[in-house]
C-alpha cells in the first residue's frame, strides 16, 4: 500500500508537488501548535509580542520550506527540461541518433517519451522524404532518357524500314529464282541489322540445305530405284525361304511334340528311379540298423569269448592243480603200498610167529588144562588174524592198485582235458580276434551303408529335381510345340507379306523413277554436290 502510494506519487508530478506542500502544511501546523503553546505559556501582557514573534517565525519557516521544495523539485525538473531542450535542439539540427532517456517516471518522463517518439517519426519522415525525392529524381531522369531513346528509335526505325523494303525486294527476286528450281541463288545483305543478316544467312543456309536435300533426294531416288529392284528380288527369295522355314518349323514342332512325349516318359522313369532310390535308401537304413545290431552282437560275442577265455585259463590252472593233486595221490598210494608191503611182511612174520607158536604149543602138549592147547588156540587165532590181515592187505593192495591205476588214468585224462582246454582257449582267442575283425568290418560296413544311405538320399533328391526339371522341359517342349505352330502360321503370313513387299517394291521402283524425273528439274551446282559427297 505504501509502496503503491509512493509509486503513484512518483508517477505524477502534480502529486509530488501536492505531497511536498502537504508536508510543509503539516510541519507548519506542528510548529504553529508549538508556537501557540509558547504564547499560551507566557503572561497575558506578552501574548501580543509572542504572537507577533510566532507569526514572524512561521513566515520564516514557511518561506524556508517553500524554498526547499523549489530547490528539490524545481531543480530536478529544470535540469530534466534543460537536457530535453538541448536534445530537442540537436534533433532539430538533424541529429536523430541522440539518446533521449531519463530515470524519471512522471509526466516529464512522458514528455521524454513523446520527444523520443517525435524524433523517431521525424527520422522516419525525413528518411521517407529523402527516399521519395531520390525516387522522383530517378523517375525524372528515366523519363528524359526514355524520350531521347524514343526519338532515336523512331529515326532508326524509319531507316530500317527503308532498308527492309530494299532487302525484301532482293529477297523476293531470289525466292522467285529458287521457286523456278535454281537453288544456287544466294542473298547478299549489306546491313548492320543483325536480324536481317540472320534472315539472309538463314535463307542462304536453307537454300544450301535444300540444295543438299534435293541432291541427296536425287541420289536417294536412284538408290531407291536400284534397291527397290533388289528388294523385289529379295522379297521373292524371302518368300521362298519363308516357305522353307515354315516346313522346317513344322518339322521342329513335330520333333518338339515327340520330345515332349519322350520327356514325359523320362520323367516317369526318373520318378520310378527316384522311388527306387528312396527304397534303396530305406533298405540301406534297415541294413544299417541290422549292421548296428550285428556289431552289437559281435561286441557281445567278443566279450563272451573273452570271458570264456578267462574261464578256460582258470580251468587250465585248476586242472594243473588237479594233476598235481593226482600225482601226489599216486605218490601217496605208492607210499601206502610200501606200508602195505610192510604190513604184509608183518603179517608174514605174525604168521610165522603163529606157526612157531603152534610148534611150541605142540611141544607143550595137548590135553585139558594144558598150556600148549591154549597157546595153540592163540597161535591159531593169531594165524587167522594174520591170514585175515594178509587177506585185507591183499584187498587193500588190489584196491590201492586200482585207485592208483585210476589216478594215473585220471591224471592222464586230466592232462588230455588240459590239453583240450588249451586247444579250446586258443580257439576261443582266435574266435575273439575274428569277432574283433568282424566287429571292425561291420563298423566299416555300417559306415559304408551310412554313406550309401546319404548317397541314396541325395540321389533321390537329385532324381526328384531331375524329374521336376524334366517336367519343366516337357512343358517347355509343349510350349515350343505350340509356339512352333504359331511360328509356322507366322512364317506363312511372312511368306504372304514378303510377296506383298515384293509387289510394293515393284510399285516403289515405279515411284522412284517418277521421283528421279521430278528431282531432275532442280539445278544443283557441282560445288554443292561435292559438299554433299564430302559429308
Amino acid at each position: 500500500m505504501r509502496g503503491a502510494l509512493s509509486t503513484r506519487i512518483q508517477e505524477r508530478y502534480s502529486f509530488k508537488i501536492g505531497a511536498a506542500l502537504a508536508g510543509i502544511f503539516v510541519l507548519t501546523l506542528a510548529v504553529s501548535v508549538i508556537f501557540g503553546l509558547h504564547i499560551d505559556a507566557g503572561p497575558q501582557e506578552e501574548a501580543t509580542d509572542r504572537g507577533i514573534a510566532a507569526l514572524a517565525g512561521l513566515m520564516v519557516l514557511l518561506l524556508l520550506n517553500l524554498g526547499l521544495v523549489g530547490i528539490v523539485l524545481g531543480g530536478n525538473v529544470a535540469l530534466s527540461l534543460r537536457q530535453l531542450s538541448e536534445r530537442a535542439e540537436r534533433i532539430g539540427a538533424g541529429e536523430f541518433d541522440v539518446e533521449i532517456e531519463t530515470s524519471r517516471n512522471d509526466e516529464i518522463a512522458d514528455l521524454y517519451g513523446s520527444i523520443a517518439l517525435m524524433r523517431d517519426e521525424l527520422r522516419e519522415m525525413v528518411t521517407d522524404l529523402e527516399q521519395t525525392r531520390a525516387e522522383i529524381e530517378a523517375e525524372r531522369q528515366r523519363a528524359t532518357e526514355a524520350k531521347e531513346n524514343a526519338e532515336r528509335l523512331q529515326q532508326e526505325a524509319e531507316a530500317q524500314n527503308q532498308q527492309l523494303l530494299d532487302i525484301a525486294e532482293r529477297f523476293s527476286e531470289a525466292m522467285a529464282h529458287s521457286a523456278d528450281g535454281d537453288l544456287d541463288q544466294r542473298l547478299t545483305v549489306e546491313t548492320d541489322d543483325k536480324a536481317l543478316q540472320s534472315i539472309a544467312d538463314s535463307y542462304n543456309e536453307m537454300l544450301t540445305e535444300l540444295g543438299a536435300a534435293v541432291a541427296k533426294a536425287q541420289g536417294s531416288a536412284m538408290t531407291i530405284d536400284e534397291m527397290s529392284a533388289d528388294l523385289e528380288n529379295s522379297g521373292r527369295e524371302i518368300s521362298r525361304g519363308s516357305q522353307d522355314v515354315a516346313h522346317a518349323i513344322t518339322d521342329i514342332a513335330q520333333g518338339a511334340e515327340k520330345q515332349a512325349e519322350e520327356l514325359h516318359e523320362a520323367a516317369g522313369e526318373i520318378s520310378s528311379l527316384s522311388a527306387a532310390t528312396e527304397e534303396v535308401a530305406s533298405t540301406t537304413t534297415e541294413i544299417a540298423k541290422q549292421s548296428d545290431d550285428v556289431s552289437t552282437l559281435a561286441s557281445d560275442g567278443r566279450e563272451a569269448a573273452s570271458n570264456t577265455a578267462e574261464m578256460m585259463e582258470s580251468t587250465v590252472e585248476r586242472t594243473e592243480t588237479v594233476v598235481e593233486t593226482v600225482d601226489e595221490l599216486v605218490e601217496e598210494a605208492q607210499q601206502i603200498e610200501q606200508v602195505i608191503a610192510t604190513i604184509d611182511e608183518i603179517a608174514d612174520q605174525i604168521n610165522m610167529l603163529a606157526l612157531n607158536a603152534n610148534i611150541e604149543a605142540a611141544r607143550a602138549g595137548s590135553g585139558a588144562g594144558n598150556v600148549g592147547d591154549g597157546f595153540a588156540v592163540v597161535a591159531n587165532e593169531v594165524k587167522n588174524l594174520a591170514g585175515e590181515a594178509m587177506k585185507a592187505v591183499d584187498d587193500i593192495e588190489r584196491t590201492l592198485q586200482s585207485v592208483q591205476g585210476r589216478a594215473v588214468e585220471t591224471a592222464d585224462e586230466i592232462s588230455e582235458v588240459d590239453a583240450s582246454i588249451r586247444t579250446a582257449e586258443d580257439d576261443v582267442s582266435r574266435v575273439r580276434d575274428q569277432l574283433d575283425t568282424i566287429a571292425q568290418d561291420i563298423n566299416d560296413v555300417d559306415t559304408s551303408i551310412q554313406d550309401i544311405n546319404r548317397t541314396a538320399d541325395e540321389q533321390a533328391t537329385t532324381a526328384q529335381e531331375i524329374s521336376t526339371i524334366v517336367d519343366s522341359v516337357a512343358e517347355i517342349a509343349e510350349e515350343t510345340r505350340d509356339q512352333t505352330g504359331d511360328v509356322s502360321a507366322t512364317s506363312q503370313e511372312v511368306t504372304a507379306s514378303t510377296e506383298t513387299v515384293a509387289n510394293l517394291a515393284q510399285e516403289l521402283d515405279e515411284q522412284a523413277e517418277d521421283l528421279s524425273d521430278i528431282m531432275s528439274e532442280f539445278t544443283v551446282s557441282r560445288g554443292t554436290l561435292a559438299t554433299i559427297e564430302s559429308n
Binding site: 508556537f35 509572542r50 514573534a53 514572524a56 524556508l64 526547499l68
Partner: protein, 239 residues
C-alpha cells in the same frame, strides 16, 4: 533573567542536538558501508550535522558564552559560530570537489562564507555603528557568497555536466536559502528588530540548522556516485 518558556533553553539545545546526532548517525552508518572512494565524501557530508550536534550540546552546557547586546544581558555561546565556520568550509570543499573549482576559486568562495558567521557574532556583541557595520558586513558577505555561487562559479559548474551541475545548484540554493533564513532570523531577533523572542528565534534557528545539515547530508548521500570520477576525465569531457 526569568522567562516563562515552553521549553528551557537547555532542553531546546539538547533536543536539537539529539535530532542532529540521530540524523548524523543514520548517514554515518550508511557512509561506513560504502566503498572506499565514496566513503570519505559521504563521511564528509555527515560532518556538519555532527559538528552542529556537538555545538548544541556545548550550547546546552553554556560553554564559551558571551553577553549579547540588546537582549537584557542574555548569555549566548560563541560555539555556534565556530561550528558554522567549519560547516561552511565543508560545504565549500564539497562544492570544490563536485565541480572541480580551482584553488583560487575555492579560497575566493571560502572567504565570504568564513567571514559571514564572525560578522554575525560581532554584530551580537557590539552596539551602535559598529553593530550596524558588522551586520552590514555579514549581509555583504552573504551577498558576495551568493554572487560567486550564482555568477562565475555557476559557469564553472555548467562545464561539469548535468548531474553535477544539478547537485551544485541544489547545494547552492540550500546554502543561500538557509543562510538567508538565518540572516533574516537574526535581523528579526530580539537583539535586532525585536520581532522574534528568544524561544521562537532559537526554535527557528534550530529548525534551519536541522534542515541545512540533514538536507546537505542527504544530497551528498543521494548523489554519491558523482564523486567517483577523476578531475582530468571530467575536465576533458566538458571541454
Amino acid at each position: 533573567m526569568t522567562e516563562n518558556l515552553l521549553f528551557s533553553p537547555t532542553a531546546l539545545y539538547f533536543g536539537t542536538a539529539l535530532l542532529l546526532a540521530l540524523g548524523a548517525l543514520v548517514f554515518f552508518s550508511r557512509a561506513a558501508l560504502a566503498s572506499g572512494d565514496r566513503r570519505s565524501i559521504l563521511i564528509l557530508g555527515t560532518l556538519p550535522a555532527m559538528f552542529m550536534a556537538l555545538t548544541y550540546v556545548m550550547m546546552g552546557l553554556e560553554l564559551l558564552t558571551v553577553t549579547v547586546t540588546g537582549t537584557g544581558g542574555r548569555e549566548q555561546s560563541v560555539v555556534r559560530f565556530v561550528a558554522y565556520t567549519g560547516v561552511l568550509a565543508i560545504v565549500v570543499y564539497v562544492l570544490r570537489e563536485l565541480v572541480y573549482l580551482s584553488q583560487k576559486q575555492f579560497v575566493l568562495l571560502l572567504i565570504p562564507f568564513v567571514a559571514l558567521p564572525w560578522f554575525a557574532l560581532a554584530s551580537w556583541v557590539t552596539t551602535g555603528a559598529v553593530e550596524s557595520l558588522m551586520s552590514g558586513g555579514a549581509f555583504l558577505s552573504y551577498l558576495a557568497g551568493a554572487y560567486l555561487l550564482y555568477g562565475p562559479l555557476s559557469k564553472v559548474a555548467s562545464r561539469a555536466g548535468g548531474e553535477r551541475r544539478l547537485l551544485y545548484v541544489k547545494v547552492t540554493h540550500l546554502a543561500v536559502l538557509c543562510w538567508g533564513a538565518l540572516i533574516l532570523t537574526s535581523a528579526l531577533s530580539e537583539q535586532a528588530a525585536g520581532m522574534l523572542d528568544f524561544f521562537v528565534g532559537q526554535l527557528v534557528a534550530s529548525y534551519i540548522d536541522l534542515l541545512f545539515m540533514l538536507v546537505f547530508a542527504a544530497l551528498v548521500y543521494n548523489n554519491r556516485d558523482l564523486f567517483t570520477g577523476k578531475r582530468e576525465q571530467v575536465e576533458k569531457t566538458t571541454d
